[in-house]
Amino acid sequence: MKILAVVEQRDGEVPGASREVVSAAASLAEEAGGEAHALLLGGPGVSDQAAALGAFGASQVRVVAHDALADYHPDGYSKVASQVVKDGAYDAVFLPATSQGKDLAPRLAALLDVPLAQDITRASVVDGALELIRPVYAGKAFTQIHVEASPVLATLRPNVFPAQERDGTAQVESVDLDLDPDAWPTRVVSFEATGGDVPDVAEASVVVSGGRGMKDPENWKLLDDLRAALGSDAGLGASRAVVDAGWRPHGEQVGQTGKTVAPKLYFAIGISGAIQHLAGMRTAGTIVAVNRDPDAPIFKVADYGIVGDLFEVVPRLTEEVRALKAEG
């Protein structure tokens, strides 16, 4: 089985979600007897990052470097990726289920005329074929799907598949394609970062989420302090109620009309646990809840709970985490 992982690069780095996809592709290819390749698109110099993907199991990294590919461009990336996939005779093509991956994959599907399975949470090889599991109804149910086309095209949910380092080096191959950026109709005007260096809630490996119990948007300082104490891979989340109230941006919303997340550690602070919020975070590794109300539904899914006033608990928690991190 020959699998291609289409990876992302940002500020000279391949983000975690992309490394996970390479690693998952390598594990599955190994299981089925085959090899995993990676496709890296970017500006001139992007090939510097290519060799490092060998450590996650890619035997070959195909690099397309061009000024017009320095940042994600939907028309350019979909054209280039579809060309590489067609030329490579792949059995499966995986992308990370990030906002970029979920934008690119459907275009790729239409260009290749194959179906697409978004947001896969489990993948295995059974009788030489891929068996894929994906959530529906924002995680209230999971479906095992069957794809009757080749290549099997899927996006993999961040933080679910481990990024395993292994001994291996990748052969880096530069792909020369005739690109005509003037023919790409979309014009990328600007990008405005919202969170600075804070990772997006969908990609963060630790999430600090706040709900109505926070009482006032000003109080988010408390959560941001905790987030900062937890480290650079921690992000902020929010319940639907506080997003609807305009306290927090929609990009942070966790749940059925927001994002479905799977961090290794999730803090639900002042969140009662409406069914559609629970659907969005129940696949988190460890869930911690802090709530005044001992009967709040969030305690039914939390691994650890503290009943009490979050305005006392959270600052103390931040202090303890800071002390712990300082110890190393």
Partner: protein
């Protein structure tokens, strides 16, 4: 400017999901169906665009069975001008859906096609950009706000870590997410008027689905964990457990 909005009938997001007897789909008994919330944003965006420009017609389009007429009527009650029901099977294969929609939309070729960024049932988040690619049009996804200008639409696309501004020449396809387009409620007058608005039914030109569901299961119940304690005094013990038992700190 004429606008087509593609919408979908889905279970209310408050629904408690149960697996049906077939083991591959949900038990529909007692389930309340609504327009997918993202599609409501898209209908609202279309209505506001029509109102701002003072001209054009908003058509709502869906692929589904007769029950979807109710969803189309909801959009008509919000203010859409006409509705089209493509009768056909809806599967989890978004490309099959996109092909059916493309066959219909290609005929009238309106300057702007809007969809919800994803359907709140299969969460596949793909029909919009697939449709655009099939039609050979540019597309912006997860757009929280946009404005039309001479021959183009300028979109704020919500991406991980920020907002990307994209300018698409018309005709274009845009998928809408939560943001600027908080949907209006249908007025009583709107609901009455919707009954007299045209709703056309035709057979969909469906492509076979190549992505099927073999089985559907509910996630394992998370076992309720422990209440570590009450108030700030419980924090040191919580931190110890996170570090030593859960190994996550």
């Amino acid at each position: 400017m004429n606008i087509i909005v593609c919408i979908k009938r889905v279970p209310d997001t408050e629904t408690r999901i149960r697996v049906g007897d077939d083991g591959t789909s949900i038990d529909q008994s007692g389930v309340k169906y609504v327009m997918s919330p993202y599609d409501e944003f898209a209908v609202e965006a279309a209505l506001r665009t029509r109102e701002a420009l003072g001209e054009g017609e908003v058509t709502v389009l869906t692929l589904g069975d007769d029950a979807s007429q109710e969803t189309l009527r909801t959009a008509l009650a919000m203010g859409a001008d006409r509705a089209v029901l493509l009768q056909g099977d809806v599967s989890h294969d978004g490309l099959a859906t996109a092909k059916a929609l493309a066959a219909e939309i290609g005929e009238s070729d309106p300057p702007l096609v809007l969809l919800g960024a994803k359907a709140a049932d299969d969460d596949q988040q793909q029909v919009g950009p697939m449709l655009a690619t099939l039609l050979g049009r540019p597309c912006a996804t997860a757009v929280s706000n946009f404005e039309t200008k001479e021959g183009a639409v300028v979109c704020q696309s919500e991406v991980d870590g920020g907002t990307q501004v994209l300018e698409l020449p018309l005709p274009a396809v845009v998928t809408i997410t939560k943001g600027e387009f908080e949907p209006r409620y249908a007025s009583l007058k709107g609901i009455m008027a919707a009954k007299r608005k045209p709703l056309e039914t035709k057979d969909a030109q469906t492509a076979p689905s190549r992505l099927s569901v073999k089985s559907m299961e509910l996630p394992p119940e998370r076992e309720a964990g422990k209440i570590v304690g009450e108030g700030a005094e419980a924090v040191p013990e919580l931190v110890r457990l996170l570090r030593e038992e859960a190994n996550v700190l």
